[in-house]
Amino acid sequence: MLENIPILSLLLLFPLIDAVVTFSLGKNPKAAKMSALVFSAIPLLLSLLMLTEYTQTAGGYQFVESFSWIDTLGIQYIMGVDGISVPMVFLSTLLVFLAVIFSWDIEHRTHQYMALLLVLELGILGVFMALDYFVFYIFWEVVLIPMYFLISVWGGPRRSYAAIKFFIYTHIASLVMLLGIFALYFEAGSYNGYYSFSMETINAVSPFFSDTFQIVVFGALFFGFAVKMPMFPFHTWLPDAHVEAPTAGSVLLAGLLLKMGAYGIIRVAFPALPSGAEEWQLVMVIMAILSIVYGAVMCLAQKDLKKMVAYSSISHMGIVLLGFATFTELGIAAGVFQMFAHGLITAVLFMMCGVMQHKVGTRNIPRLGGLAAKMPYAATFMVIGFLASLGLPGMVGFVAEFSVFTATYDAFGWLLLVPVISVAITAAYYIWALQRTIFGPLTKEVDTEHIHDLYWYETLPLAVLSGLIVLFGMFPGLILDYIRPALGTVVGLLGGI
């Protein structure tokens, strides 16, 4: 029965319909919120349905839909998911749904805000499901526009600067990536005898591409993805964008947009240019480690809680790249799992930053202190989030990071010490930050008389996320069972170490 439902297209269709409906409910903020809530719940249910219907052991792409779109250029609308995209699709629908709830107190231009969140969902889901390079690129770019508006209308004091910097910086990166995609298209066309943007068609001939071609084009694609992830030294847009973005924007930015970069590497760059990837391995490892160390060190220097979390994202995405760069099944699986884990954890952290800003009026760590007494629930979630982020065993981050480090040791030996030590430093700093914000004596810097603990719309998303962090930490197989069978092809292309 379910075979006949175009589940992936429906996943795209509902956010689109709802963006229009919500936007047109302009006069009534309450109705806009309700419609956003209902319609973002539908993709979530659909993705849950997809999780259950997906055959884990089969590998390959499932639920594939394909229609021809631009025949003259060989562009098709092909949608399909495999074990790498399924967790990402689930994560996307979940985070958008929770972000809608968490934004319940948005009063300024509510209908536009909600509509933009849903357009963002459309773009992100499209990226995770598209199997045609052209369509992939279109969704990739569609993501930028709602995020630009989210930051520039609902952001902090320097929102204008941050929004335009985010927009142009990532736009340049995507254009460079587009050049790489063109090159793939023409090169594959000359082998196939016909031109097509389909990923499977291009990837089928990828081992025949000459080495020089692979090195150059991999460079172009990798640049596009590395900026998005973002990897040191292309990260400078991220702290600005995060600090200025509204909370839901930050949650989706860190939780999903960064994942698009990592996803692009594993979905596009590796399979299309396997020997290019091998040539670039050293660069990837160095960039990954630099990002881990740099992110961690910058964390230490931050006074703004949100900026600290932003830098920790760079560090954690470095772990993803490190996993990928091992080229082993374990490393890549762990990298993908880390993407999923970081999506959950960072959402909690950014929501807590939002809570601090709203309740206390500042995110400046030295001005906070002893807030656990005033808002015990918030403090609980903050502890969960921070501990998960520093990699406490039993939580989802630990499994991911530990597996990446195991794979790193297998591949590169004692080079592992560098990232491990810097992660250890961050852990210490996290604990210290917790101590300075929610424990210890109550701060006198700010008015703590009227601090209210969490409202329902804040508690609910935080509770769901915390539950999932522990659940998947205890039973990582729930997600890893999707990921591992899907990696055979890409690991095989990379030489199957």
Partner: protein, 484 residues
Amino acid sequence: MDYSALYPEIILALFAIAMPAVGMMLKDSKFLAAVSLAGVGLAMLAVFMHFYEGLGAAVFDNGLLVLDDFSGLFIMVFLIVAFVVILASAKFIEGEKHAPEYYSLILLATVGMMLVAASTDLFVLYIGIEITSISSYALVAFRKKDIKGTEAATKYFIFGGISSAFTLFGISLVYGLTGTTSFADIGVAVGSLVEFKEMIWLALVMVIVGFGFKVAMVPFHAWAPDVYDGAPSTITAMLAAGSKKMGLVAMFKFFLIAMLAIKADWEMVIAIMAILTMTVGNLAALNQTSIKRMLAYSSIAQAGYILIAIAVGTEFALTGGIFHILTHAFMKGGAFIIVATLAVAAIGERITDYKGLAKRSNFMAFSMTILLFSLAGIPPLAGFASKVVLFSSPIQGGLAGSEWLIWLSVAGIINSAISLYYYARVVKYMYVDELDEDVPVEKLKLPKSMMAAVAICVIAVISIGLYPDFFIQLCQDAARALLA
């Protein structure tokens, strides 16, 4: 003689000549616009019927003019531009003197553009260019009392005259060397020309300078921002979407037919000019305070993109060039008409005047956003689709052997990224910034006909973006027809 290739031009020319007589009877701008629209519609119908009946290429007088896939497409584009401009003008020039002449000149200018599109002979091409140019000099100065407009017209006239002189000198050299003015024959003769190579280079330089002025190629672009800024906004729309494209069509014909045999001699020059033009245009657009000047510089940059097609010179590249001309006509034409529409509601031409526009007219702000994002090449809009074809063609050429062509793609893409800044800035003013305090927050009352003109452009931009297949096919046929 078979006149069928000339039907559209004849129809339109008759309307243009009749217009002042009609104006004697009724001076109402709306009525005159309706008559002109009828003329444009009839001409469109003539083109449509020609292809609908599958008559194939119609040749006039042993090859002075031809109506084929290439010229048919461009004649259609120019007619659509004229249609939109006239539709927007009905209200825009209401109550002004000399309305009949205004419409008559627009129609005549369009006839000139159509002649250029259809020409297969260097001399017909030149005549077409002159008809358009002389009509548009007068149109730019249409508001006689407007100092800015008069200054712009003077500048335009002087620069235009000089450029025509250069072109004509180049043409006469080509004629002297080859003994023919037909593109196809020149193409054959140039290939076998062994003596007087220097003379043909001199001719090339003259023609590049002459056409360079027409399409506002850097370093011959200085007149464009002043003229675009000073002219009435509807006329600016016509200049940017129509006459400038006519110059590019002329360049396609001259370089890709007549001078194709010696492509190695000029391709690098055009490539460098293309990169210069897009870069200078975009950089200069960055800190403009007037929206019309900003759009004018962006127009210069877009011409730079289209020059890529000539430098690469393959069928695929030409498809991209034609496609971009098509989409750019809608994007830029629409944008200037929005400026004109808002001017009717007394909104100024400074970019800061657009602050909080979304609150005063949602439709205008939305339309402008779509058009600007399309100009920047954001998917899934028309500008993205055409840039994809255009910018990917050098890569195809590069992989096929001439590696240096790839730099054209790189330059195009870097420039697209730069341009996003000034387009996004306008969007920010319209949606993000609040209205100035002294401006009343109330919905603007805008003329329906002008909104219709804008709507045509926006719908075209969205639908070409969502379903480009059909249009790419058209452009491909056109490119094949030209290169055949």
